[in-house]
Assembly symmetry: C2
Homo-oligomer: 400 residues x 2
């Protein structure tokens, strides 16, 4: 049995799936990293199996997996040339089974649920995490509840509901719902796999191990990650800490966590040098997946980003939408605005002369754009009309 730890209080606890926050300081508990050197099973085909030694599972059960991970790393030559940028790579997390990085976390948490005999899982989410949890719940044959805020449109829920998850719209404060779900989970023996769940975070580590492999055991200078609850970047940073502990790397990449200006409580605290963030009243960014006024992992992000010498920055919605468009137009990558925030962040660092031409940067593209087609500005699209008869003429005049 792996031990849990609070990195704030520096205390360890034994695992209780229904109490995953520190009883003293209320910050998220993490799975304690093992002290010994861990083997990488490089002969294994699946990414999870290769890195099993780093994960809180004894085995990967094929009947739970949906084939998550092993996502492509692509170099963005055209964008680099066009805007005179240093080397840019993207890690395409959109190619996970339900179209977002969440699957990497869900699969590990569902393994934990199955191994502990849990009959019902749940999550609080309106987007990527809801779909991911519903899909893996269906695959494993576990009843799944998804709690959403009252205002969520039904249509947004269809891709979770199609998997048979029970959707519950809850009237009241959405931030409060996060903690309320854990309380109701304890009472009803439902494992709520929310955004900062420690087993989710363990799953996110695998992205970092894949990057390490894909860069042939070197490391890029910068890794840009969208930041919402904080769970994702915490997992990535934890993985690099484990690599350093194993003496596989001698320094860290600079992690650049990116928040949208209209939902940037962690970036604000970082800028002021504070160790605790202040929740904001209302978040209003177009980047829904990172439009988070009260990130439960915020303080942990601040602590870890300081330790790793990274930074949390903010970017305006206008730059996020422009970056979304550039990725689609120049590189054929259609991602959600939250993912594009990473490119907006890179442009920002470039503008502030904080990047060198020799830098190697990675953008983690977290979610597929097709999930929110309504956000697109159709006024920028070229849609013409003609007839079969006039087709030749229309086309030759286009090419002239």
């Amino acid at each position: 049995m792996k031990q849990m730890e609070c990195v704030f209080c520096q205390k360890t606890y034994s695992l209780d799936l229904f109490n995953l926050f520190c009883p003293e300081c209320r910050e998220p508990l993490l799975v304690k990293s093992p002290g010994q050197l861990l083997p990488v099973h490089s002969e294994k085909k699946s990414s999870l199996e290769r890195h099993l030694g780093f994960l809180p599972s004894d085995e990967i059960i094929p009947g739970i997996s949906l084939g998550e991970g092993s996502t492509p790393l692509l170099k963005l030559n055209r964008l680099m040339d066009q805007f005179n940028l240093p080397e840019i790579y993207i890690k395409n997390e959109m190619l996970n089974p339900t179209g977002s990085f969440k699957d990497r976390g869900t699969v590990i948490a569902v393994h934990k649920a199955v191994s502990m005999g849990i009959k019902t899982i749940g999550t609080v989410s309106t987007g990527n995490m809801a779909v991911s949890t519903a899909a893996y719940g269906a695959r494993a044959g576990i009843k799944t509840l998804v709690l959403v805020s009252e205002e969520t449109s039904d249509e947004k829920l269809y891709s979770a509901a199609v998997h048979g998850a029970i959707l519950i719209k809850v009237k009241g404060d959405y931030g409060e719902l996060f903690y309320k779900s854990l309380e109701t989970g304890r009472k009803n023996h439902i494992y709520f796999i929310n955004s900062t769940d420690p087993f989710r975070i363990e799953g996110y580590k695998v992205t970092a191990f894949e990057l390490f492999d894909q860069f042939k055991e070197k490391i890029p200078t910068h890794i840009f990650v969208p930041v919402s609850s904080g769970g994702h970047i915490i997992g990535l940073m934890k993985a690099f800490k484990e690599l350093k502990k194993r003496h596989k790397i001698d320094k860290y990449p600079a992690f650049i966590g990116v928040q949208p200006e209209k939902a940037s409580p962690i970036a604000e605290a970082f800028l002021k040098g504070e160790s605790k963030y202040t929740r904001i009243k209302k978040a209003g960014s177009v980047a829904q997946s990172i439009n988070n006024p009260a990130p439960p992992g915020g303080n942990l992000v601040l602590k870890m980003i300081k330790e790793l010498n990274g930074q949390i920055i903010k970017v305006p919605d206008s730059e996020i939408l422009r970056a979304q468009s550039l990725l689609a137009l120049y590189e054929g990558l259609f991602c959600l605005p939250a993912s594009a925030a990473t490119l907006a962040g890179l442009f920002r660092l470039k503008r502030e002369k904080k990047l060198d031409p020799q830098d190697q940067t990675v953008l983690i593209l977290t979610g597929a754009g097709i999930k929110n087609i309504k956000i697109l500005d159709s006024s920028k699209m070229v849609i013409l009309q003609t007839s079969l008869k006039k087709l030749d003429h229309t086309i030759s005049s286009l090419l002239r």
Copy 2:
């Protein structure tokens, strides 16, 4: 330079990108399979590079690839148990870069375009192929035209238009538009990468090679494939012919091409034992991606399926929609109806007692369900309402 061949006239031709149908019989030309034994570069990480010897490219250019292929093979234990079915595996083509198998073909065709100095590419499609061609066109920096029928809703085009493709709605017969596009392509030096393009078909072969690897050089007894224009199943069958030529296999899997009843011209001809299909007036299936009244590769499919001893079957829309729902509910796989037609086909063969308990079947899931969320029947979904205060009560009564 690879040679092209007409398998009907048994003549070979040298490559002309603007004349990819046989000048004598008007059937699609194919790339002639090489006579010699071909190496598999098993040390290479990307699937295309491993199988380069089988492809009409001298190299894979990283700046054109979007990380297509290497899709997961998953076993569907829960469905098998629930419905007493033989072994079922799915090949998850939804995890290609733009969410469908089309990417495997597009990447090879765009390689060909780049190597031949083509400045503009195009396609005739309203769905998966439009998006795929637009994305790879953007990635390669090639101007891209997408011709669609007049009635297509703008919204359906957004995920292609976001990549900067020029969308042209054309008034007139959609079947005619296919051939008209090739004519206008010849005049204007535009390479129209339509559904039966021989380089697309070469790309689809790689799925079969991956299956061969994933089954550890054995072969499943049945492979179920949705059939529209015919390009996809032609590619898969061609690959198995090449494996047999290399003496890697000694018999073929039974290919089961599946069409929806309301758009089944190839299945009708197959049932009647005819070698040519008759185009139907109007196709009306809910499975849009295979709702094809006049498949340009139809006769070639009939010829090859006979040679390989497979069959083309049809299934009603009601069974397609049920299969779509079952894949989502039992296995966490949300695919387009066209993909689910494969499972409907499997149920049909089971019902007709044409499957043995020892059979190993593969369903090729071709496209992601998120692309057509509107088709879902929300009356079957569970969406409840409550308040923060009543949440405990709502949940505990749900679990009782």
